[in-house]
């Protein structure tokens, strides 16, 4: 999983608490940076933003203008954890620290641009990498999850016979149709790849099976352009977080869960069934995400 350390700006421009507001305003103007870490003896002691600068007399010391409570992350923090922190605190940048020492900065625009690479441009859905992340996050919250893997039947034929433009139109509509079946706060829809979609839901396995059935039915009941018939098969697998046990050498991971759902959807296709439930597995705590430390 991509971390903040991989995308952060490492060339830090910092200021000192005894600098004047006027000097820092000029520095911000020259470097076109809207927020600078305040460092004393190499340690992070605050952050000064252009907003702080505007509110203060230019004669003041940075120590009298800066924000002392800095929201920081370690370089190992994931992009999604960083995004959540930025949004929760309503701030524009995070200072990346190694202990008390600043090692980089990540701005909201840089982070969003990087996260945007995980959004599928065709359907607007998030991609597979985020599915993993969301599943882990829900598990860490102590929730049981189920993965639904949905594969369109013979979709390659649509691309071959009607062209990829029509194929893309259908994929967009499939995303909308499936989106209409999702329940906000319970079900999270992703485009996995090609004509494959996936859902992570916090519903119990039986409810997840019903949801998969609704998804498959919604697709087959939709009126598609040019009289095309679109159908899908789905596989479902459930997982819950289990504490690590000694001797349990081969723990299941979220990837295993996704794989189980994927294989179940293949089985459904072969057996000409709408939905196949693969079963439920326990996922080791060690495979859940590491909590991102936060200094506020």
């Amino acid at each position: 999983m991509q971390t903040i350390g991989e995308i952060m700006t490492k060339e830090l421009v910092t200021v000192k608490p005894e600098d004047s507001v006027a000097r820092v305003a000029e520095l911000m103007e020259r470097t076109r940076i809207g927020g600078l870490p305040v460092v004393e003896g190499g340690r992070l002691v605050g952050i000064i933003s252009s907003r702080d600068i505007r509110r203060c007399h230019p004669n003041r010391l940075i120590a009298d203008a800066m924000t002392k409570e800095v929201v920081t992350v370690p370089p190992t923090c994931s992009l999604w954890e960083a995004k959540e922190l930025l949004e929760r605190h309503g701030i524009e940048r995070l200072v990346v620290v190694d202990g008390d020492y600043p090692v980089g900065v990540v701005t909201k625009s840089l982070l969003y641009a990087e996260l945007g690479k995980h959004i599928d441009a065709l359907t607007g859905l998030q991609q597979a990498a985020f599915l993993q992340r969301k599943a882990l996050e829900l598990l860490q919250d102590g929730k049981e999850i189920a993965i639904i893997f949905l594969d369109l039947d013979d979709f390659g034929a649509v691309d071959k016979e009607l062209g990829h433009v029509v194929g893309d139109e259908i994929l967009c509509r499939v995303a909308k149709v499936l989106g209409g079946v999702m329940e906000e706060g319970f079900d999270y829809l992703f485009r996995y790849a090609g004509d494959e979609f996936a859902v992570v839901t916090v519903k119990p396995l039986e409810e997840a099976r019903k949801l998969a059935l609704r998804m498959v039915n919604a697709i087959s009941e939709e009126e598609w352009p040019l009289g095309i018939k679109v159908a899908a098969s789905a596989g479902v697998a459930g997982g819950r977080r289990a504490s690590p046990r000694e001797g349990d050498l081969e723990p299941y991971t979220v990837s295993d869960l996704i794989n189980m759902a994927s294989l179940a959807s293949t089985r459904a296709k072969k057996e000409r069934r709408q939905v196949v439930v693969a079963g439920e597995i326990e996922l080791r705590e060690a495979n859940c995400i590491q909590q991102c430390p936060e200094t506020v």
Binding site: E18, H57, N59, R60, L61, A63, D64, A65
Partner: protein, 122 residues
């Protein structure tokens, strides 16, 4: 024609500098008993702290306050022996906010007279 006469006729204007010097003692520290720092004043509490620490170490206490006009008060420790800060500060704030806004740093001289009447058994 003398050179003075030529000058008066306007060919070369006369330039003079007048100098006034006022000498007075620089107060150390340049404050009296109390200082109230406005929220948008040219110096903030940390700058005041540096000044006080350098000029009169351990003689003043800096108190950060939640107030609509002022963000900090600097009080002479000897004053606080006469009157606790929870009694002194509200009075100072009330009086200073009448005459200052958040851009100001207000210097205050405070005289406290303690009156004691005691009786003893004869």
């Amino acid at each position: 024609m003398s050179s003075k006469t030529r000058s008066l006729l306007g060919s070369e204007p006369l330039r003079k500098a007048e100098m006034t010097i006022r000498l007075s003692e620089f107060e150390i520290p340049p404050m009296q008993d109390a200082l109230l720092v406005g929220k948008k004043a040219p110096i903030g509490p940390e700058a005041v702290r540096s000044m006080v620490d350098a000029l009169s170490p351990e003689q003043y206490e800096i108190i950060r306050i939640e107030h609509q006009v002022f963000e900090a008060a600097v009080l002479k420790r000897s004053l606080l022996k006469l009157l606790p800060k929870d009694k002194l500060l509200p009075i100072l704030l009330e009086e200073c906010e009448r005459v200052a806004d958040e851009h100001a740093v207000v210097k205050a001289q405070v005289n406290i007279v303690i009156q004691v009447n005691r009786a003893v058994d004869l």
